[in-house]
């Protein structure tokens, strides 16, 4: 096989990477998953770059998407900061438990389990018809912690009532355990916890997830920097492209119907699930 990337100059490579990163930022902003979903496969499969550098670039792309969209989503009034902080706390505790349990669990089994969870989440996400749901009250914990909020629907602000808080905490704790063990972003489970357990409007779930993923990524940043996984010459086109893409994504999201967003999300998490399953079967975790 000819390794075509050997014929590239640095500038051509950087421009190509800029283009793919723009797409990554766009997808990341719309799904609440961060840009890593696109960045890692492009770097590893297309350009044959070392997985560690790809993971480093992915981490930067997640923080870039999160920061690029946060200001816009906060201004528009979609992000629910209280839910974000509350669930992030559960995720951090889960990640700590996950890090402690590394030696006790089989990674292959976990990866298979996680991919099945992703396929099931894709199904649940598409299935939910939020416009047909009505909740007159919220979970008592949501009232105590003041988690309810409003979001822009059409031209007016609409109130939503948060349900099943303990379920969401369990899912977020598991998300933390998974990311602590498998080292992958738990963005998919974050959106799932908010969409399926808390029964939030979909745009509130994805934008709040976008706010949280930057914080989660920053927790791993120290170790990535010190291990040398963050290569500046590789990362600079990624960061520029992802921020540009996420700015555009944030503009588009407000105008998109939640059903379209649900469909995009489901396709993307099915692809992550397949990637995970492939890694588990080939033993490349």
């Amino acid at each position: 096989m000819i390794n075509w990337e050997h014929f590239l100059t640095i500038i051509t490579f950087s421009v190509l990477l800029l283009f793919f990163s723009f797409l990554a930022g766009l997808v990341g902003a719309l799904t609440g998953l961060g840009g890593g979903v696109v960045v890692i496969p492009v770097l590893v499969l297309l350009f044959h770059i070392n997985i560690h550098f790809a993971m480093g670039a992915s981490l930067i792309s997640v923080m870039a998407t999160s920061s690029g969209t946060a200001a816009a989503y906060l201004r528009e009034g979609y992000t629910n900061l209280r839910i974000g902080i509350f669930l992030e706390t559960a995720a951090v505790i889960g990640a700590l438990i996950g890090a402690l349990m590394t030696a006790m669990l089989s990674k292959t089994l976990l990866a298979i389990l996680f991919s099945l969870v992703l396929f099931f989440s894709a199904y649940l996400t598409v299935k939910r018809k939020e416009e047909h749901e009505e909740y007159p009250t919220s979970h008592p914990w949501a009232i105590k912690l003041n988690l309810n909020g409003t979001y822009p629907l059409g031209k007016k602000l609409t109130a939503y009532y948060v349900q099943h808080v303990p379920y969401a905490m369990v899912i977020m704790g598991l998300a933390g355990v998974f990311s602590g063990l498998l080292g992958i972003g738990s963005g998919a489970l974050k959106v799932l916890a908010m969409d399926q357990a808390l029964r939030l409007p979909y745009k509130v779930a994805t934008t709040t997830s976008n706010f949280m993923i930057g914080i989660t990524a920053a927790v791993s940043a120290g170790i990535y920097f010190s291990h040398g996984y963050i290569n500046p010459t590789l990362t600079f086109p990624v960061m520029i492209g992802v921020i540009a893409g996420s700015f555009c994504g944030a503009k588009i999201l407000t105008r998109m119907h939640h059903r379209t967003l649900r469909l995009i999300f489901s396709i993307v998490i099915c692809l992550i699930g397949l990637q995970m399953l492939y890694k588990a079967i080939t033993g490349t975790l």
Partner: protein, 121 residues
């Protein structure tokens, strides 16, 4: 008087400032890098290598020497710090608003962030 709306607005502005500085540095460093090395063939050996040792101290030092990669690294570091800043701002707001639970939650995340950034370096 502090209000959730004010908090949201301040946070949005701070994030925008942080990301603009980080992005500006990365663009400047990137352009310098491309002017110097843009026409060179891509060195796959380097991108497939394992080691690229780095520390926060090293990043600050190489940024002051105005090397293209040093400037990019400083931009990336500021991007990481922006994440820390957003939790710090939230913790401060909740503290001022006397919201005990949320001061605790955001304080806990902040401590974990600082711990993981400093301890691992």
């Amino acid at each position: 008087m502090y209000s959730p709306e004010k908090m949201q607005k301040t946070l949005g502005i701070m994030l925008l400032i942080g990301i603009s500085i980080a992005l500006g540095l990365v663009i400047v460093g990137g352009i310098f890098y491309l002017i110097h090395y843009g026409s060179d063939p891509l060195q796959m050996e380097l991108l497939q290598a394992e080691a690229y040792q780095l520390s926060i101290k090293k990043i600050c030092y190489s940024a002051f020497t105005l090397s293209p990669t040093g400037i990019i690294e400083l931009g990336l570091l500021i991007l990481v710090m922006t994440q820390l800043l957003r939790v710090a701002i939230l913790a401060w707001f909740y503290f001022v608003m006397r919201d005990r639970w949320f001061t605790f939650f955001s304080g806990f995340i902040l401590i974990m962030l600082i711990y993981s950034l400093i301890w691992r370096n």
